[in-house]
């Protein structure tokens, strides 16, 4: 009896259809969060430690697979239902950007890294804006004035570089002594300033494009919308402080921080402003007004990566490709132009500032990687249905896909040549010190014995035999 083979496509379609009927919107949300959660604590740490890979971008691909373009498990309606989570995730990235900007710490860093990083950021913004504007105008055959805002958005997105590469390659600040090296300090400052310039530029351009007419007052100017955006953040920060008061319990902190972030993100999104800029302003207020911002930073850090993964999945699911060749022209143009600007721009800026002896001319490689902020900003733009939203989002997604995985390796490649002599010096110094110590110990017994107070501070696990008492004390 002949057996007709069942086509694979039929099985896949049936399976997808069955899953679609089972997958309710809330269940999808839970599964998204569960995947993000597991990814954060299992895959990310493992990949970072073993393979020096910054994980994350693959969730963008997973999102595309789950979205309407492939399996359809994430329907457009489901993605729409996730809007509050998306907005919260976008806003969260804004607070995260502000967290390292504590003035007490920033003033201890010399001016040259700031100057270098700021000029590099502005250079990238300018070059990519100009390039993207020309590319879009050429590809879509429209006057450049009409696409200037979209070009500016791409410029703002291009500035951002992921700090995850540095953290994975050289450990988090304060946990690894190598982070004090000039080149790593320069990369760190550049990452922070890139994020600030990116968020501020993006927020301002959105304010320029704002066209909502208020109910009871005249239309606001761009400056006024920017002030409103920053005002939302400042009010959020103030409410947080008033709410927390003198009580520092963990629950109160969660309620006040959660409430303030949700309120500010929601308000900015409702007014069609940038939640990232509003929350960035709030973050700056928080980190500089709290005596001990560690607890707040801890709460924010615990939510950042799961939200980023959820954002990536949803961003991937909401991706809408276009077969138009013009589309891919703009995307290729963006990726190449940004990479070249980061590579050469940093070199030129460093040379102009005379900092090449300390940081070299190649540290721009460390800024090629793009990550969470890039996706947050691009997704924030595309979800609004503004012009060229899909192409702008695809530019960002392609850039993240190609660069985030290897961000740590880019940083290593940029910093290693400069760190090697330092490591050599460190090893030589260690050897010299050992020799001197040994000689002194032989020549003057007891000269290098610890004092009483040092003896008391000796760790409990060090046996006393390692520091024998001088013969006279026995």
């Amino acid at each position: 009896m002949p057996v007709t083979p069942v086509p694979l496509s039929f099985i896949v379609d049936s399976l997808c259809e069955r899953l679609r009927t089972l997958m309710t919107t809330p269940l999808l949300l839970i599964l998204v969060a569960a995947v993000a959660f597991l990814a954060t604590h299992v895959v990310y740490e493992w990949l970072a430690k073993r393979l020096l890979i910054v994980s994350g971008a693959e969730y963008l691909v997973l999102g595309v697979l789950l979205g309407p373009q492939v399996t359809g498990l994430f329907t457009p309606a489901a993605i729409e239902a996730f809007q509050p989570i998306i907005i919260l995730g976008i806003g969260w990235m804004g607070v995260a950007v502000a967290m390292p900007l504590r003035l007490q710490r920033l003033v201890r860093i010399p001016a040259v890294p700031y100057r270098t990083a700021l000029v590099e950021s502005l250079l990238t913004f300018g070059v990519v804006t100009a390039g993207a504007t020309s590319a879009i105008a050429y590809a879509y055959q429209v006057p450049w004035r009409e696409v200037l805002a979209a070009g500016g958005i791409l410029g703002a997105i291009a500035v951002a570089s992921t700090p995850a590469g540095l953290d994975v390659a050289f450990g988090e600040r304060g946990k690894d002594s190598a982070r004090g090296a000039p080149v790593l300090l320069q990369i760190e400052v550049a990452n922070h300033l890139n994020a600030v310039v990116s968020v501020v530029a993006f927020g301002i351009i959105l304010a320029v494009m704002h066209d909502t007419v208020p109910l009871m007052v005249r239309s606001l100017t761009t400056t006024e919308w920017v002030v409103v955006t920053l005002g939302i953040g400042v009010v959020g920060g103030t409410v947080f402080h008033l709410f927390l008061g003198g009580e520092q319990s963990a629950d109160r902190l969660v309620i006040s921080l959660g409430g303030a972030i949700i309120l500010a993100s929601g308000a900015a999104a409702y007014l069609e402003l940038s939640p990232t800029l509003a929350l960035f302003a709030m973050g700056v207020v928080l980190v500089n007004s709290l005596r001990h911002p560690g607890a707040v930073q801890e709460v924010l850090r615990s939510g950042e990566r799961p939200l980023y993964y959820a954002l990536l999945l949803l961003a991937g699911a909401s991706w809408r490709p276009d077969a138009n060749i013009a589309w891919w022209l703009v995307i290729m143009h963006y990726v190449v132009l940004r990479t070249l600007t980061k590579l050469w721009g940093t070199g030129i800026v460093t040379w102009v500032n005379g900092a090449q002896r300390a940081v070299g001319l190649d540290w721009g490689r460390a800024l090629i990687g793009q990550g969470r902020l890039t996706i947050a900003l691009a997704f924030d733009y595309s979800r609004r249905g503004l012009p060229y939203g899909d192409v702008i989002f695809t530019c960002a997604a392609v850039s993240v896909l190609f660069t985030e995985f290897f961000a740590a390796r880019f940083v290593r490649a940029a910093a290693a040549p400069l760190l090697a002599p330092l490591e050599q010096i460190s090893a030589t110094t260690g050897a010299v010190l050992d020799t001197v110590t040994e000689t002194m110990t032989h020549a003057l017994p007891g000269f290098l014995q610890p004092t009483d107070s040092e003896s008391q501070e000796r760790p409990a696990d060090v046996p006393p035999e390692t520091n024998p008492a001088p013969p006279g004390d026995r």
Partner: protein, 443 residues
């Protein structure tokens, strides 16, 4: 003073944002969520110095900012925020289940069953009787045939006997009370929750035979009720076992994990048509007792995650109370509320004596059983769904009764705990911390 300043700032922010928002702007769900967390919590702290539980403050905030008041939270926004309420119910049930330990059930289980049975019978009969007596006051029952009067009176009573696990858990968490009154009240509320599902299903079947619905809706199937109860236990046990395994072998990031599990449990329960509260209750119980001693860590983490969700849950419950609809019904609601309270008191006295409990417990625990909230509202909605025309006035009456019980219940419970000496200054001074809820097994 600081609380008032926060409220004024929040008030100004909301006014400003609504003015600046364009006419095409949608519902600011996320903003309202954040606003309710901060505003309701501030109102809760404002009423605290007056000896009023913070839950009542959250309810007041809901009335104030909800559709009957300033209408910041509109009716469509209430619908949009429904997932928050569902999450709160799931968290409450899980935490309630995690409060129970096997040793405690062995010690107090028999006494709790005796109190539940006597209180249920007495309150149910008393309320049904009151409804029959007051039928002339109700337009739907005034000229109805006797069978219909009996049917609707029984239906009303089966919803009116319900307690509120949410209020009980929230108040125990707020006050950190952990004495015998607190433990027996929690036990009675949880067991009653299971009993009520059975009772309501039974009464609904009887009511349908006495007063058939207009559309000839299908009757209650025994299999469905059995699945609702048995399936809940089964699903809850499986979920609890998975959580226990996680606690034993991974036990990391319990804050986010707890939230995810609560969401997962409630959604799975909804998809499988089992009782959410019972499912999560069983899951919490299994996780706590099978988690290899890590259950307490999970409970504390979940209590922290639950804090803002509870605030919004009660604020949303308050926003659903319409004082204008309650006032005209007060002539019927007040006697019903008083009879219900008397029934609870009598039932607890009877059950307490039967179980040989000290008068300190029986004389105060009844105060913790007056509150009503989510479950009762859900059952009232079922009544209105089954009887679209005749059920609507009954639902309005039930909602008015629930609103009154919801408001006075937490105040009475706090009073009962205070009279029993379980509201020590140390507990009260410890303030709003949710992380130090009553620990299971500690007597």
């Amino acid at each position: 003073m600081r609380r008032l300043v926060i409220l004024l700032i929040l008030f100004a922010v909301m006014r400003g944002v609504f003015v600046l928002g364009g006419p095409t702007s949608g519902i600011p769900t996320l903003m309202l969520f954040g606003f309710l967390i901060l505003a309701a919590y501030s109102v809760g702290e404002l009423v605290k110095p007056f000896g009023i539980p913070k839950i009542v403050g959250y309810l007041i905030a809901g009335i104030l900012f909800g559709p009957p008041g300033l209408a910041y939270v509109s009716k469509p926004a209430l619908t949009e925020l429904t997932p928050v309420s569902n999450l709160a119910i799931a968290l409450i049930a899980f935490l309630a289940g995690a409060e129970l330990q096997l040793s405690e059930i062995r010690e107090r289980g028999a006494a709790i069953l005796k109190m539940v049975s006597s209180e249920l019978v007495l309150t149910f009969v008393a309320i049904a009787g009151t409804m029959v007596l007051l039928r002339s006051q109700l337009p739907i029952l005034a000229n109805a045939p006797a069978a219909e009067v009996v049917a609707f009176s029984l239906l009303f009573a089966s919803v009116a006997v319900v307690h509120s696990p949410a209020v009980t858990m929230a108040l125990l968490t707020e006050t950190r009370a952990n004495g015998p009154v607190a433990r027996y009240t929690l036990g009675v509320v949880l067991v009653m929750d299971v009993a009520v599902v059975l009772l309501f299903s039974l009464v609904l079947a009887v009511a349908r035979s006495l007063a058939p619905p207009a559309g000839g809706a299908e009757g209650v199937q025994a299999g469905a009720v059995l699945w609702e109860i048995g399936g809940s236990v089964l699903v809850g046990a499986v979920l609890g076992a998975c959580i226990a395994l996680y606690l034993r072998f991974i036990s990391r990031e319990l804050f986010i994990f707890g939230l995810l599990m609560a969401l997962l449990g409630s959604e799975v329960a909804r998809i499988l048509h089992v009782e959410t509260l019972l499912t999560l209750l069983v899951a919490g119980f299994v996780a706590e007792n099978g988690g290899g001693g890590r259950g307490e860590d999970l409970r504390h983490a979940m209590e922290r995650a639950a804090a803002p969700v509870f605030v919004v849950f009660f604020a949303l419950a308050g926003a659903k109370i319409d004082p204008k609809a309650v006032v005209p019904l007060l002539p019927i609601v007040v006697p019903v509320v008083l009879v219900r309270m008397a029934g609870i008191w009598g039932g607890m006295q009877l059950g307490g004596k039967w179980a040989g409990l000290p008068t300190n417990v029986t004389g105060n625990a009844w105060m913790g059983l007056v509150s009503q909230a989510g479950v009762a509202i859900g059952l009232a909605t079922v009544v209105a769904d089954v009887y679209p025309s005749r059920g609507a006035p009954l639902r309005a009456l039930l909602m008015a009764t629930i609103a009154v019980n919801e408001t006075i219940g937490p105040i009475l419970f706090r009073l009962g705990l205070k009279r029993a000496g379980e509201l020590t200054p140390a507990n009260v001074d410890a303030g709003p911390s949710v992380a130090a809820a009553p620990t299971a097994g500690a007597h």
